[in-house]
């Protein structure tokens, strides 16, 4: 049961072969067993989850169950959950109890899903390794000495280790796709505006997007059906007709034009990653997909542009954490400014401080034009390049990350090296495009490799369909990490 897909779990619940309480209990037991080692969850409230499971069982007994009713889903600890601690991986919010639910949490609850717990993450979603959490690093179930990726590292590790059948993440520059790749699971970043940001603790508002993490493209589609939708509380939420993302899963592959940007297959890519991705490309071609060679020459500008825009927005978004109204406040201080300084010095970690400083700098008088405006121009050009590329192809394929999971501490002292690891996930984020990562093989160290599929705005159904067809023919996504056997 722990290894079943969402569709299988849904069928089992519908056939009364298992109750939600039993199912939830089984996953909670697995969390209890593995979490002390993996540290994928920050908060688990067994009673709260079981109460929701009982409610889901009752809902099913009433005959108004949907596909997700009774299925446990883990939440990244950036999603505000009412009456429950929501830490965002920070000392700043270590004891913060949210008085309200995020939109996505409401949607999941309405669908009858059971919130399994709050997953570990890089502090305020800033990081690509989950090493920046105040609550300690998450370990990769494929190799405990390695990182699971970040910032949604806890969510990805939880799904990989079968501690949860699915989880939510958020993706600002790759925080869903990269940990999915590193942890051997599937992750989708939807089109910007498709999923409401209301109740997600903001990192960089123009980039933040909620997305599902699961073990198959079909499961991602089921989750997206519930997560996507207009929300008037988010001004950037898009008011468009709801789609059923499961409808296109059996799509025809013949004639699909797959774009291959040279920049995504160039230098700096580990051979194991390249081989796995090229094998996947070959599979698509064998199904009748047409190969389109592309150039996305501004790809190398994406990382520097992102590391101006995201910190700029973050420096402003994180100003509310001032010790005045909620969250951490320094114990001792001499006056107001001292209170601010000590509170923020004591409760923010090093990476968060660094980004606030960078963001403050690039927005400052005299630097704004040279950095912030310039970065926005680059962002528009990158979006334009994608628009042109999608005139020639339907889906862009490439690696999700240039490497597989690295060892904990390996890049800790070198932020630039760490940032460059985001080179393939940042461009779609800057352009607001949907992109997903699915497992496409393993490198020589036995670590999972992620294949990234990017599409035009609102092409989620196409991306999910292509990924699903690939997964019908391959077994990579079904492998269980050897360090966390069932």
């Amino acid at each position: 049961m722990l290894d079943a897909t969402l569709a299988e779990l849904s069928a089992a619940l519908a056939a009364k072969r298992v109750s939600s309480v039993e199912l939830t209990g089984a996953f909670l037991d697995r969390v209890r067993k593995l979490n002390p080692d993996l540290n994928a969850f920050i908060t688990v409230d067994r009673e709260r989850s079981l109460a929701q499971a009982r409610a889901a069982d009752a809902k099913r007994a009433h005959g108004d169950a949907g596909p997700l009713t009774g299925i446990p889903v883990a939440l990244k600890d950036i999603y505000c959950t009412k009456g429950q601690r929501t830490t965002c991986g920070s000392r700043m919010l270590e004891h913060f109890i949210s008085p309200y639910d995020a939109h996505v949490v409401e949607q999941l609850e309405r669908a009858g899903a059971v919130a399994l717990g709050k997953c570990n993450m890089d502090e305020f979603a800033m990081g690509s390794s989950n090493e920046n959490s105040y609550f300690g690093p998450v370990r990769n179930p494929w190799d405990r000495r390695r990182v699971p990726g970040g910032s949604s590292g806890g969510s990805a590790a939880a799904v990989a280790a079968r501690m949860a059948p699915a989880a939510t993440g958020t993706d600002t520059g790759g925080s869903v796709r990269q940990p999915a790749a590193f942890s051997g699971v599937c992750g989708l970043r939807p089109t910007y505006g498709l999923v409401s940001r209301y109740g997600l603790i903001a990192f960089a508002s123009s980039l933040d997007q909620a997305g599902p993490i699961a073990r198959s493209a079909a499961d991602l589609a089921l989750l997206l059906n519930v997560m996507a939708g207009f929300d008037a509380r988010d001004s950037t939420s898009l008011d468009r007709p709801k789609e059923d993302y499961t409808e296109n899963l059996e799509m025809r592959m013949g004639g699909l034009r797959i774009g291959l940007p040279a920049e995504y297959f160039g230098e700096g890519i580990e051979p194991g990653v390249r081989m796995a991705v090229e094998a996947a490309v070959a599979w698509f071609e064998a199904q009748g997909a047409r190969r389109v060679e592309l150039e996305l020459s501004r790809t190398k500008l994406a990382v520097p542009a992102y590391y101006v825009i995201a910190p700029a927005e973050a420096s402003s978004n994180l100003a509310r954490f001032d010790g005045v109204r909620y969250g951490y406040r320094a114990k001792e201080y001499s006056d107001l400014v001292d209170m601010y300084c000590r509170t923020r010095a004591e409760a923010f970690g090093a990476e968060v401080k660094q980004r606030i400083l960078v963001g403050t700098y690039v927005l400052s008088h005299g630097y704004y034009d040279a950095y912030y405006l310039q970065a926005q121009k680059v962002r528009r050009l990158i979006a334009q390049d994608f628009s042109l590329a999608f005139e020639k192809c339907d889906v862009i394929l490439g690696p999700t990350a240039p490497t597989t999971a690295f060892e904990i501490g390996a890049k800790a002292g070198d932020p630039v090296q760490m940032y460059l690891g985001d080179i393939f996930t940042i461009p779609a984020a800057l352009a607001g495009l949907p992109a997903l990562s699915i497992p496409c093989g393993f490198d020589e160290k036995g670590l999972p490799v992620g294949l990234q599929l990017m599409g035009e705005h609102f092409s989620e159904a196409t991306l999910l369909g292509a990924a699903h067809r690939y997964q019908q023919a391959t077994e990579w996504h079904k492998r269980i990490p050897k360090e966390t056997p069932l």
């Binding site: 603790i201 509310r320 927005l363």
Partner: protein, 476 residues
């Protein structure tokens, strides 16, 4: 006078909306601290702003009223600074692209028309309040006001001296209330002005260094603060000193301005477009609908009063001081059917005096337009004299009631019965032979004296017109 005082005014007008600029919380004044602060207002993690359409409509209404340009696409920007009553650590405002650009405000001062150009008007949200009293060394924060919609209206430095500045501010105050975008309540902070003041020698074209004066929460304080500040700058310059650009606070108790912060302390607000809000795009249809629903504006109505009711510019100005006053006047003219000038005299005279005496707004006048119309009809048809009418008005003001009943009850009916007047005239003529002689000898003054005698004999109730006619007839 060799010095010219140059003033520009920045006004924060609180927009009259039921809910806040970016949240659904109420904007009502006076609630218990922090009871009108929603999750968005207190800036909980994860919350997002949604712009209030009513506030946007008010801003457009104002822009159209001052003939400014409504930017079809304007941008909300974040103004970043730390302060305990600023929950997000930034204020959402508009910076490079405000909703209204340009425009002008016309106002009357000492019988002359002035025009001040406007730079811009932009939407923003208010901060909360820091309460420094009652907390024993700590500061209380009340976030009820946080997020209240404001329209910041910036004038060009077109005002010369304190009187013009106040004339502008009064006209602006009247306009925002006239078009219904602001309740204008200065005590509650709904209409707040800052003045940028500089001085220069007359004839010079370059502006002097300005100081911004804050805390001008009444027109009287504004006038005194600008006068003080201008004097300070003139004396400083004449003594060989230099005005330093700074923000100064007006202290009404000491009637002086003092330095708050200099330009060197000015913060870098790190403005940037708010990524939580899309560019504010305004459709032609929306502008058209607002334009169509726009009330007749004060200037146009004033001009029409002069034209249509043959009023003096002065009277027309008084009667269009507010929309309620103008509405009262037109209701009065319509209900009474008497001379518009008589209506104007009564509204600006008796009624206005009574309202002032009791500090009442005309909308809350105990004497309504139909009541006053009834009285003016009786004045016009001679039932009561002008003097008696004032007594009737006082009774109506205090006790209410129907005009004709009051006249009868108080015995104020004018004697217009020809026979009765004739008797009075005969008696007066018999008793005043000397005056009659004077009149016949060509002394016109004697006639007036005779009328006075008839009035006296009637205890003021005789219709003076009829009395004069009867006298003239009898004297041949």
């Amino acid at each position: 006078m060799v010095w010219e005082v140059v003033v520009g005014i920045e006004t924060h007008a609180q927009l009259a909306t039921a809910s806040k600029m970016f949240s659904g919380a109420s904007t009502a004044f006076g609630a218990a601290p922090n009871t009108q602060a929603s999750a968005v207002d207190i800036a909980l993690p994860g919350v997002l702003p949604v712009a209030n359409l009513a506030a946007i409509e008010h801003a457009i209404r104002f822009g159209l009223a001052v003939r400014g340009t409504i930017n079809r696409r304007s941008i909300f920007a974040r103004k970043n600074y730390f302060y305990p009553d600023l929950p997000k650590g930034y204020q959402i405002s508009q910076y490079e692209s405000p909703i209204v650009q340009g425009g002008k405000l016309t106002f009357q001062l000492d019988g002359r028309e002035h025009i001040a150009r406007l730079t811009r008007a932009h939407l923003e949200e208010d901060a909360g309040k820091s309460l420094h009293e009652d907390f024993h060394g700590m500061t209380g924060i009340d976030l009820n006001r946080a997020g209240t919609p404001l329209l910041e209206i910036v004038s060009e430095p077109d005002l010369r001296g304190a009187k013009e500045a106040v004339g502008y501010a009064r006209a602006l105050h009247a306009l925002v209330m006239w078009i219904g975008v602001c309740d204008g309540n200065m005590q509650e902070g709904s209409f707040r002005c800052d003045a940028n003041v500089s001085v220069r020698r007359r004839g010079e074209s370059v502006l002097g260094t300005r100081c911004e004066i804050k805390n001008l929460n009444s027109f009287r304080f504004m006038e005194r603060a600008i006068e003080f500040e201008a004097k300070r700058q003139i004396e400083l310059t004449e003594d060989g000193g230099k005005v330093v650009q700074e923000t100064r606070l007006y202290d009404p108790d000491r009637d002086e301005t003092r330095s708050m912060r200099t330009k060197e302390d000015a913060q870098d607000y790190r403005y940037f477009p708010d990524p939580d809000l899309l560019p504010l795009v305004i459709s032609e249809q929306m502008i058209h609908d607002i334009e169509a629903a726009m009330p007749e504006l004060p200037d146009a109505r004033r001009e029409r009063f002069i034209r249509e009711y043959a009023l003096t510019p002065y009277d027309a100005g008084l009667l269009t001081v507010s929309r309620t006053a103008a509405d009262y006047y037109e209701a009065l003219v319509k209900a009474s059917g008497v001379e518009p000038k008589l209506c104007a005299n009564w509204q600006t005279g008796e009624l206005s005096a009574a309202l002032n005496r009791e500090e009442r707004d005309i909308a809350a006048s105990p004497v309504s337009p139909p009541m006053l119309a009834g009285l003016l009809k009786r004045v016009t048809d001679g039932t009561v004299s002008g003097k008696a009418a004032k007594q009737v008005f006082e009774v109506m003001w205090k006790l209410g009631g129907v005009v004709d009943e009051i006249i009868e009850r108080e015995g104020l009916r004018q004697v217009s019965d020809a026979g009765a007047i004739e008797k009075l005239v005969d008696a007066v003529l018999a008793a005043n032979e000397r005056l009659v002689g004077d009149y016949r000898a060509g002394k016109d003054k004697a006639f007036n004296a005779l009328v006075g005698q008839v009035m006296k004999a009637s205890k003021g109730k005789a219709n003076p017109v009829q009395a004069a006619e009867a006298l003239r007839r009898k004297l041949g």
